[in-house]
């Protein structure tokens, strides 16, 4: 039972890490709690579904199409709404939830409310880890997250744009003074966050089903990770994502499955009270 719980935890943890990293990017750069990310995931998943079933593209092409849609929709949210509340941190969370309302219900109107399954070719396979079993879609999720985290880390450390984004998230004014064009960094970071949302759709879609509010619950869980990991701290988010996944899966098996995501929220509430700036924060960002 122990291995199974650990395996479940790694799968769940990878999901949270992948989600949290996307959120952290936008939170770090623009101090925006980007709840609308759940809507981006939903629309990206529906794009994959439409390409795969209606337009009958092979699964991998459909997946790529979904990633691009995710990126574009995410940039759109910044261009039409977040841009205007950059100087108003109090308005940001409510605008984010407003955007979530818009994106989720657009999906509901365009594609209807039915649960439809996104099935990759490996949907039915199983991998055995000792006595524990892992569905192939779970392994795909772990793989996707590993690749995404590595790519993101390389991008942020090695490339010029990556360093510019990190500079902006450290101190936007200083970065501007150094000649970094802020607008461009906001667009790039939202585009990347949109790609990450597409990856979540690609990896999480097949596990349950695609429906308009599919990502709301897991996004709220992931938000716990964003706060735990320290706002704007990518490494922190990845590690905490894994930790929360393990905590929830062990909690589910050994304590009570009904209140599985309650453990995460309890930890979050504790965090906000005790250390408003998070565990791993590299600077105590005083949120207005």
């Amino acid at each position: 039972m122990l291995i199974q719980a650990a395996v479940n935890g790694v799968v769940l943890g990878s999901l949270f890490a992948l989600l949290a990293v996307g959120l952290t990017l936008t939170y770090g750069v623009m101090e925006v709690p980007n709840f609308a990310q759940a809507g981006v995931i939903t629309l990206s998943a529906y794009a994959m579904l439409w390409l795969n079933q209606t337009a009958a593209c092979p699964f991998w092409i459909a997946a790529l199409g979904g990633l691009v849609v995710g990126g574009v929709v995410s940039v759109l949210t910044e261009r039409i709404a977040y841009r205007f509340v950059r100087t108003r941190p109090l308005a940001a969370p409510v605008v984010a939830l407003g955007l979530l309302l818009i994106l989720d219900n657009t999906a509901l109107i365009l594609f209807g409310g039915d649960h439809v399954s996104l099935s990759p070719p490996y949907a039915g396979d199983v991998i055995y880890v000792g006595s524990a079993t892992v569905p192939a879609v779970g392994v795909a999720l772990i793989g996707t997250t590993a690749v995404a985290l590595l790519a993101l880390w390389l991008f942020l450390q090695r490339t010029k744009t990556g360093r510019a984004i990190r500079a902006v998230s450290q101190n936007a004014e200083a970065a501007a003074i150094l000649g970094i064009r802020l607008e461009r960094q906001y667009i790039v970071s939202f585009f990347i966050s949109g790609i990450l949302a597409g990856l979540v759709a690609f990896a999480y879609g097949p596990m349950y089903a695609v429906y308009p509010y599919m990502a709301d619950a897991i996004l709220l869980n992931a938000f716990v990770v964003v706060v735990l990991g320290g706002l704007g701290n990518v490494a922190g988010a990845a590690v905490c994502g894994l930790l929360l996944g393990l905590l929830e899966s062990f909690g589910a098996i050994y304590v009570s499955a009904a209140y599985q995501n309650l453990f995460g929220f309890a930890v979050l509430l504790l965090m906000i009270v005790l250390r408003p700036a998070g565990l791993f924060t590299n600077r105590s960002r005083r949120v207005a």
Partner: protein
Amino acid sequence: MTEIGMYGQQETRQRVRPRPAWDYLGIALLGFGLWVLLVESNSFYSSVLATILIWTIATSGLNIIAGLGGYPSLVQGAFYGIGAYGSALAMKWGQPFWAACIEAVLAAGILGLIVGLVFSRTRGQYFAIGTMFTGLVVSLVLSNWQSLTNGLLGINVEFGFGSIDQLNVVIPAAAAFSLMLVRFVSRRRLGWRLLTILEDEDLAEHIGVPTARTKLTGFVLSACVGAVAGVLIAQYNGTISPDLFDYYVGFVMFVALSVGGAGRVLGPLLGSAFIVGTPDLLNLSSGIGLLLAGIIFVVVIIVIPGGFMSAIDAVMAAASRSVRR
């Protein structure tokens, strides 16, 4: 330049001398007018109006801590839910109706006290996120505590009033009273202190305002008024389920307040009428209804941060200027 208003509204807000009590008369007249509307129109429109009025009460409660105090609480939906479930369960366990109401409001007040204490040190965005997750935890407990709340199926509520007509009087009266309460609080010491906290909490502390105690009082008051709305929705619908008090509801109430005009007496009424009324009146499916609400909300928050009431102010100020010229 720090953000000087809660939503960055730049316009100045005149602190005028307190006026005689005709404000309350105006609101009482408004309440009477709404009662006539409630009783006269056919049952579908009166059910929409009743929901609007009950939402006005809950949003008016929120107006105390969010409108006056500038604290963006997204947990009002949970207090609303505790009022409903508290009164329904108390009656199920044999309490008389009026006792059940008081117990429900007290329970919400106590939760408000706890949440207020827990979040006393957090501000702004963290307060919003913290209260949102608190609302999430409460809605999770409501839908999963199978033995107590019967889970997602919800529970039926005994009718505590003498008759439907009695309830139809209480709802608009309570709505008018909740608007008056905000006007009353805004001109008492509690209101002033909340307003100083809205403007600049640190400075308020340094001129002697006991900010922690003031915020807590405002929060508990908001919770109790929210619970009153909960009791009424339970009585009106006759049945309640966790979906009525989903964490989302706290956010939509905050939307209604912001759209209507936070800190303004009529803000909750206008906001609720708009956010709750429009989808029902145009009987849109909740998908399109919520989409519309989302779009309008984002536009209003960006274009007129002060909400409708500040727009009305601007229009009237312009009108009075042009009249005099």
